[in-house]
Subunit: 501 residues, 2 copies
């Protein structure tokens, strides 16, 4: 029985505004689309939250046994402009190609930075990573369909979506809770009314001004696609006209996702997405993050500690753990205090995982209550995750199990008190959820090879010193190690060490 | 004065068949295009050679002070086919989108693998990484131009380049040394003659058969671009109709690069590329690498050692060093013996770089001959690299300088024997070439943090043991460390250690 049958997943569908049982269109296949980055600036903490959230969703769906096709787009059709002087376009066209600004060079820089941040955060690569610039023919085709279905109109080389026409027969605003008439009433009359019939009609295709660099031929002349159409075109191409899951940040509910729905209906006759899921936003010490507030922190700055608001550097795994401590639908407030606490908690889990590996099972006097508690916790782990990806509650269970593991390790509880089956399940579930689903990594992995050898040697020297009652020497080894952040722990099965900082 | 004026670069132009002074079209800008991977299988050792070669070229051009736009394409228009049964296309179209094979999923898997290999090998990301599938409109436009210039013809939904027409007025075969009439005479009459006028005419656009998955609309019906046209379209788009450097493996000389030239002329009236550079091939213990010979080694296998032909794992830096030991125009033979020797040589350089960092300059009795030798070697480093990227000879100079550094370190030579300027130049040039140009990295960087602390402690303990004449204890520390691959070295300025393996 696949895990998705054993622990059926329910999730909060933003469209229905309630938790629903997740029933994919064609199990075990699952199609997941999320709105990826606009690659015209450094990836920042908001991106980190998105990366970690959707990676958790992707990992958990896979772990449950689904075969997931995860599509995350890259918005690379940007709005860079070249200099136009009084002489008009001439200066641009006469400049040597290499001296001219090339938007794809900017795109590459920030795409590479985004992928690096994702890899650092141990976020898996999506199954497909399509770019807007690489899907212009598909976008033009979608716009042609919308036009021929009567939901758009052309004005002077641009094409706009006709919201009034659409809203007359479809529930525009259902996802975001916006009402078109209110939006129009609230608009200033002077605003946005150039060629558009109504101020909230959005562009499907924009005519390129002379200074606009990225441009393609189209039935409406040279131009470039509007922002919203790429997600409709690419999700349909790779996942089908109807697909299972569409994710994104809550800031994308309106207008972006509302526009996607209108486009899907205008193009293909149905809204396409079966479950909409949205993650909540990130604040910095209680404030919205914005360059103008001076609290804009890039992912690289978090890892290096190089920002006035940061008291120290925080490792990728600390950031990952910190993010998953909150439910994806709750806001996350980024603070030094919170991160430092997360750093400690993360280490506790990693120490428990290392201890779990070293425990050797031997049968002993059976403790029925302990057996029941451990088995129950092992199930609860999955039940919590299958309850709308409840990571904070699953983490609480991992900490409960960590305490059990440390009990066994220190001898407070006899490992043999539970059955070999229960112990195997504990090992299996604890590590599967910690590493495969939460995607946490032991950070010191790379450093441990030689260090392990040297530490074995020092522990042996200390043991010998104690055996020959040379306590000055043995204490000195312990204290000096402590001073450089390595703690020795004496247990029944010898001395082990743990690394801090 | 920029370095490119101080050390003018000459390079072997495959078209001219001679070394030429490199004179970019619009210095300090340089446009470089290389043929990137076809992402339908694992990156292998041949890819590693290409990655390292072009990374060295890119790094050296930048280091010389050029502003390089490096474009490396990704060939992702593949030839995957879906199953067609007796019922024809029906079965494909009726299958749910998610159950169908999606070529872009395969593309993503191997693109990610290629990028990971590149990052492991410390190859910089190119400035732009365009995909063939993302540039279909540009390829269609190029084909339209070639057609309207009379160098191509359409047959039943496909478009072919007319080689006879082209060769009548242009030197087809000049780059590769092939003669069209010989090629045609050598063809079997039955071969390749379906719709083509001549067997060596190549496809610019191919009609998609029903089972072909990747397909786009075109003026000639649904189909997909031929292999060669993408490089013409993308190099022109991002570097201009004429650009400086085009690189690739020698196996691409014919037919790929010959076809690119014909297309460029057919489309824009000139061949576009000012300098063609080609790197030589890689053999495995003297044999061509091929899956059928069982000697096909993926990059991942080299790093893990998981292949019957590999005696051990080889680190990315060993592979990088090994590759750069040969000149790019010489063949490289991949053998365990060669790699193991490279591993040792690479460590020697890294140890010298570490020693160089620790040397402290104090003026002493001047040694004019030594001063001259060191200054000369510092210049020769660049002269060799500017002589057609002669990495083996530049490495020989680095080894010569390494010996000087070890002389200073061991006290065989007095550091103060040279001027402070010469020492500064030694430090500058040695490290710049080793790290920035050769792109080699100290591999143990990540492991050193805690290990350094513990080693300081052990060295202190040993020094104290020797001071109190407890030679048993001090020797034991030295011997046990040696057993786990850490060597202590006693010098004038105290004891240092080096890590092996």
């Amino acid at each position: 029985m696949p895990l998705f049958e054993q622990y059926p997943l329910s999730l909060y569908n933003s469209m229905a505004r309630e938790k629903q049982l997740f029933e994919p269109l064609a199990p075990p296949f699952v199609g997941l689309y999320t709105c990826g980055p606009t690659v015209y600036s450094e990836p920042h903490l908001g991106h980190a939250r998105g990366l970690i959230t959707w990676d958790l969703v992707f990992r958990y769906l896979r772990h449950l046994g689904y075969r997931v096709r995860y599509v995350r787009n890259i918005t690379d059709v940007g709005h860079l402009e070249d200099e136009v002087t009084d002489a008009g376009e001439d200066k641009i066209t006469k400049k040597a190609r290499l001296e001219r600004l090339e938007p794809m060079e900017v795109v590459q820089q920030y795409t590479v930075a985004y992928r690096k941040a994702a890899a650092d955060l141990n976020a898996l690569s999506p199954s497909i990573e399509p770019t807007a610039s690489g899907h212009v023919p598909e976008q033009i085709q979608a716009i042609k369909n919308i036009l021929s279905n009567g939901y758009a109109y052309e004005r002077d080389g641009s094409v706009y979506f006709n919201l009034a026409r659409y809203a007359a027969s479809h529930p525009y605003g259902k996802l975001s809770g916006k009402v078109l008439d209110d939006l129009i009433a609230g608009s200033r009359q002077t605003e946005g009314l150039n060629q558009k019939q109504s101020p909230h009609d959005f562009a499907l295709w924009k005519k390129a001004s002379p200074e606009h660099i990225m441009r393609w031929d189209s039935p409406w002349g040279q131009g470039f696609p509007g922002w919203h159409i790429e997600c409709s075109a690419m999700s349909t191409k790779y996942l089908g006209e109807t697909f299972d899951l569409h994710g994104g940040g809550m800031d994308l509910l309106f207008p972006h996702h509302e526009a996607e729905i209108a486009q899907n209906v205008g193009c293909c006759g149905n809204q396409g997405v079966r479950y909409w899921i949205h993650h909540n936003m990130l604040t910095i010490e209680g404030q919205k993050m914005a360059r103008s507030l001076g609290n804009f922190i890039s992912i690289e700055q978090v890892f290096s500690g190089n920002h006035p608001l940061l008291e120290q550097a925080y490792s990728p795994m600390t950031v990952r753990f910190f993010t998953l401590q909150s439910h994806y639908r709750s806001p996350v407030d980024f603070s030094n205090e919170g991160l430092q606490a997360a750093e400690k908690s993360y280490r506790r889990l990693m120490n428990a995982a290392a201890a779990l590996d070293k425990l050797e099972y031997r049968a002993g006097a059976f403790d029925a209550e302990l057996e029941r508690q451990i088995q129950e916790a092992c199930h609860t782990l999955y039940r919590e995750l299958s309850d709308d990806f409840n990571t904070p509650r699953a983490l609480a269970v991992l900490f409960e199990l960590s305490s059990r593991i440390q009990d066994f390790r220190s001898g407070n509880k006899v490992l043999g008190g539970i059955s070999a089956d229960a112990f195997a399940q504990l090992q299996q579930n604890f590590k599967a959820v910690l590493f495969d689903v939460f995607g946490l990594l032991p950070e010191t992995q790379a450093q441990t090879s030689k260090l392990d050898g040297v530490m074995d040697m020092l522990i042996r020297m200390r043991t010998e010193a104690r055996a020959s009652k040379d306590f000055a020497a043995s204490d000195r080894i312990r204290d000096e190690l402590l001073a450089i952040g390595i703690q020795l722990k004496d247990g029944k099965e010898g001395t082990t060490f743990s690394v801090e900082g």
